[in-house]
């Protein structure tokens, strides 16, 4: 993969990641966000967060399928940071359009409503990951420690999906698809590691 192809692919990734936000901004300006704009903004930002988190989690398993896919890792940080970006927008939507910037209402919600508690936990888990996303941080922390810290992304994704399930009405199955994809990705890791170990038992 040469440099110019990577630049082109990165630009396309940027455009794709910004697309949901562009649609929301366009919709807000032209008032075409549908019947319930608040709900639309909340759903779009939340769903995009989970989607990008899951995509970023998919990078490593997909990459290990073939050495020729190793360049994919150069997109993981971008996807992860955009996931954090949408997660933050999602949180701000709640703060502004649901809680009306009322700190007491927010604290009461976090205490009383488990789906909000879980959502806040998921976002808090992403904060240290976003903060240590620079090359400098990797050097500073050392690869091993950095890797261990960034395992938190699994926990964040799991919390995010639980947040989604707890938000929908009992009996509604809309979060099922994302849950299945996440479960497959979580199982892929140990399975792929096992296969790797069988292939070359000397290493590791």
């Amino acid at each position: 993969m040469n440099r110019s192809t990577i630049i082109l692919l990165k630009s396309l990734t940027w455009a794709a990641c910004l697309w949901p936000l562009a649609l929301l901004v366009y919709g807000a300006v032209t008032n075409t966000l549908g019947a319930d704009p608040t709900a639309k903004i909340t759903f779009t930002t939340g769903y995009t967060t989970l989607l990008l988190l899951i995509l970023s989690l998919g990078v490593t398993p997909v990459r290990s399928l073939s050495p020729r896919l190793s360049w994919l890792v150069r997109f993981r940080r971008l996807l992860g940071l955009f996931a954090f970006f949408y997660g933050t927008l999602h949180l701000l939507t709640y703060v502004a359009l649901y809680a009306g910037f009322d700190i007491h209402a927010m604290l009461a919600d976090i205490e009383k409503r488990r789906f909000i508690t879980m959502g806040v936990i998921a976002w808090l888990l992403l904060v240290p990951l976003a903060a240590t996303s620079t090359n400098w941080s990797i050097r500073k922390l050392g690869g091993k420690r950095w890797n261990r810290l960034h395992k938190l992304v699994y926990l964040a994704a799991i919390c995010g999906v639980i947040h989604y399930w707890w938000q929908v009405k009992p009996g509604v199955l809309s979060p099922l698809r994302l849950t299945i994809v996440l479960a497959v990705l979580l199982f892929a890791r140990p399975v792929l590691a096992y296969i790797q170990r069988r292939k070359n038992p000397v290493t590791a």
Partner: protein, 327 residues
Amino acid sequence: MLIGKPPDIPSSAITSKHKYLNRRRFLRGALSTAVVAGASGAAIERAAEVLSPRTAVHADTKLDTIKSPLSTTGEQLTSLEDITHYNNFYEFGVDKGDPAQNAGVLPTRPWTVKVDGLVKQPKTFDIEALLKLRPLEERIYRHRCVEAWSMVVPWVGYSLSEFIKACDPLSKAKYVQFLSYYNHKVEKWASESTIYWPYSEGLRMDEAMNPLALLTFGLYGEVLPNQDGAPIRIVLPWKYGFKSAKSIVEVRFLDKQPPTTWNDMAANEYGFYSNVNPNVDHPRWSQKTERRIGLPFYAQRRQTLMFNGYGEQVASLYTGMDLKRNY
């Protein structure tokens, strides 16, 4: 030789209802961006109304209505587009836009409503007979969903009490149950949730006899669109929307409280009474405020009123009851 004069306006030049409604929304958006800050949502609505009045939306399914003193005044009506494209009707899919897409398959004619249980004589009403039972009234009601959004809908119908009188219930009857149409071959989307069908709702008899409870056949002066519960539903403006059963095929009079769908699914979230009450939160969100449908995102939020603002007519039904316990 031409027989008959072609119409002055080719039908291709007539704006479709859909486009017309979209144009209204665009205009509203354009106006709201033009004024940016300062103007209230209501003012924008009024300006859009002047520039593009809501007139030609009525089609060939018009119902004759009379005015009603029970109609709510001073509220901006939610657009027909939003009332018909933002629906919870899980038999046709769980997304808000699904019923508008899928409910076309609901066979609304012929249609009968079976009446049984504690009545002098079980009987079956034909929909055409029910349409003529009493004069149809236009009743504008606020509609508050348990999900904390709200609309203002100009329904068409008459008081449920008139229908109940025609059913001749026995004095032993303390509750009334409404069952919705269900056919898994027609409503293929019903399996998107784990709900046990058919949809069931119920009321205490005195609640059902309150004049505000509306047996509903239409909205915006036309017969009900399928996604809004055609051809016959109830509307209970002081209760959360899910209490207002749609597409009713059977009415039962009982001496015990009937099982009701959402109460069965999650009793801690959806009580049997489910009166609109800003002081009793849903376990997962506050009910103090609501989002009015069809307004820009910054203008949606408003206070929720006790009994959705209908306390004067219905509060006496619940005197002496602990409404926190009986949510």
